[in-house]
């Protein structure tokens, strides 16, 4: 296990979103250099799994969660409501729900564009459709198992 959390792209992100192309204004992406809304290069929040988002709108979606939960990547109403890891990798598809088998990032972008239309704000093209599959976020780094690691207690141990 890691001693302390790894740093985020920005220590204090000014906006929380789960992937590239989802920033709502210039300069609010991970690098702080996006020329306008919708052109950001990466997520400003990182988390590994279902229910781990610490604020609204942080669910990456696609791997687990109920049909309803999964339908709203990047648009959950509250902390801990989101499904799955952030950022969204480009091949990730929904495992359930009406968009089962379809791209998670594309749905996140559709919801983003709908929010921007509703707000009357302009936005630009996304630089891609999710991070490349072979870019491994820090939360999935592995370390060599130590002696005794993984020697958990099992249901059988309890019965014996």
């Amino acid at each position: 296990m890691r001693d302390e959390p790894a740093p985020l792209p920005q220590e204090v992100p000014r906006e929380l979103h789960v992937c590239m192309g989802l920033n709502s204004c210039a300069g609010l992406d991970a690098s702080g250099n996006a020329p306008m809304a919708g052109t950001g290069t990466c997520a400003t929040v990182f988390h590994v799994c279902h229910g781990e988002g610490s604020c609204r709108g942080q669910g990456g979606c696609g791997y687990a969660g109920t049909d309803y939960e999964q339908f709203h990547p990047g648009e959950q109403d509250c902390r801990y409501n989101g499904s799955c890891a952030s950022p969204i990798n480009e091949s990730r598809v929904f495992s359930a729900g009406p968009l089962k088998g379809k791209s998670v990032w594309k749905q996140a972008r559709r919801l983003f564009e709908a929010r921007m239309y509703a707000a009357g704000k302009a936005f630009g093209p996304a630089p891609g459709q999710g991070i490349p599959d072979d870019r491994m976020p820090h939360y999935d780094y592995m370390q060599q198992p130590q002696e005794g690691q993984g020697h958990g207690r099992s249901a059988r141990d309890d019965r014996e």
């Binding site: 598809v93 088998g101 991070i131 592995m142 690691q149 099992s154 249901a155 309890d158």
Partner: protein
Amino acid sequence: MTAFSSFAVEADQDIATIQDLADHLKAAAHVELSTIPIYLYATYSIKTRGYSQWAAGASAQRLMTGIAIEEMLHLTNVRNLLVAIGKGAEFRCYDQQFIPKYPEPMAGRVPELMLHLRRLSTDQIDIFRGIEEPEGVRPPMPAAVRPYLSLGEFYRRIEKGIRFLSSEAAKDERIDWDQARENLWKYQYHRGYWNQNGGSDGPRLIVSEDTALQAMEVIVDQGEGAWDDHGYLPDPIVRDPANAYPPPEIGKQQASHYTKFSDIKKGLNGIGVVVDDNGVQKFTIDSKEVIWPVLDDPGIDLLKDTSPVRDLMVLSNAVYCYVLALLDAIYEAPMAAAPPTDKDAFTKDRRYGLERAFIAVMQGVLYPVADLLVRTPLTADDLKTPPQDLVHAGPPFQFHQFAKEPKTELVERCTALLAHFPELGGDDGVQRQIGLLPALPDLPR
């Protein structure tokens, strides 16, 4: 006899060598893989996609999906153990001898249990219950005539072998767990597993006698239930002492596969509106209104060479075999070990990319192609023997010999089918997902 020729294990014989243990594990892997297509096929035959709480069949469909994913977990745990004992290189999933051919008898089981690709029905659920049948349900047979009566019995022999081969009594055959912990763990499958409809145990990194036994315990308990329980189990089955909350007595419970299948048969986890306002049972798993009338054992040889549906079934076979070949590629690419001081937000990692693609190809290519097949009726123009009743196509889950690099072949086959099945294309279809897959240039020919 099974098509998997390596299944030469005798159930009443103790495992005394590492090679013997490896042979048992290869046989176990074949048994686990042989269940996955038949469970998926029955699941695909349920008409609903289950995307709302009111959609017909959501409960049965979710249970079935969760069970199929747990069978994948079992296959993973078995293969991880093969890697841990230094025999990983002896085994590949993309192997014509290893891939099940339906119909075929369940390997090594007595009495014989024939496995078919069939739609969901009471008869098929009875076959599934037979696969997962707990010990003690049937009376034991004379030792001389039984390879194994239940999977639990078979795996207990493997557990006994693990214990012996981890002890000093094994002498030169003792398993080198230090090698597993220091090096071979990198070649096991550990990340990239989710099962929203199943238990919360995931793939075990097997680096010791304890972790090996726990991996086997998860397989047996999830399948048929605990030896003294046969039904409901703590969830997870194996708990990390560092994350032991909640304690099992107040924590979640999970049903065994046998119990889940029994509940589907009873209609407890049903197929839609189980009872109408008059108290009348409306739909069961035998109602054709809620189950696609898919072919039994839909081999591509049943269809005419001129049929585009046959080409779609060939694509389905090719995708299935790509999935297995990709799994082989994952096991050949070591996981990178990062030092605790590594704080970079991202690292470029080929193995990680293969793992993400593995999930994506199952959900974004294998499933949509299968779903398209089960919704496609077959006519006299498609079948060599004209159908007497309404019948639909289905994914054949057969071995496919790639004629070229697999991704290239998938792209070409999918593109050629767009004229007949345009739903494969578009900006968010199967064609796009195939385009995102990694090439597998090192596939053995």
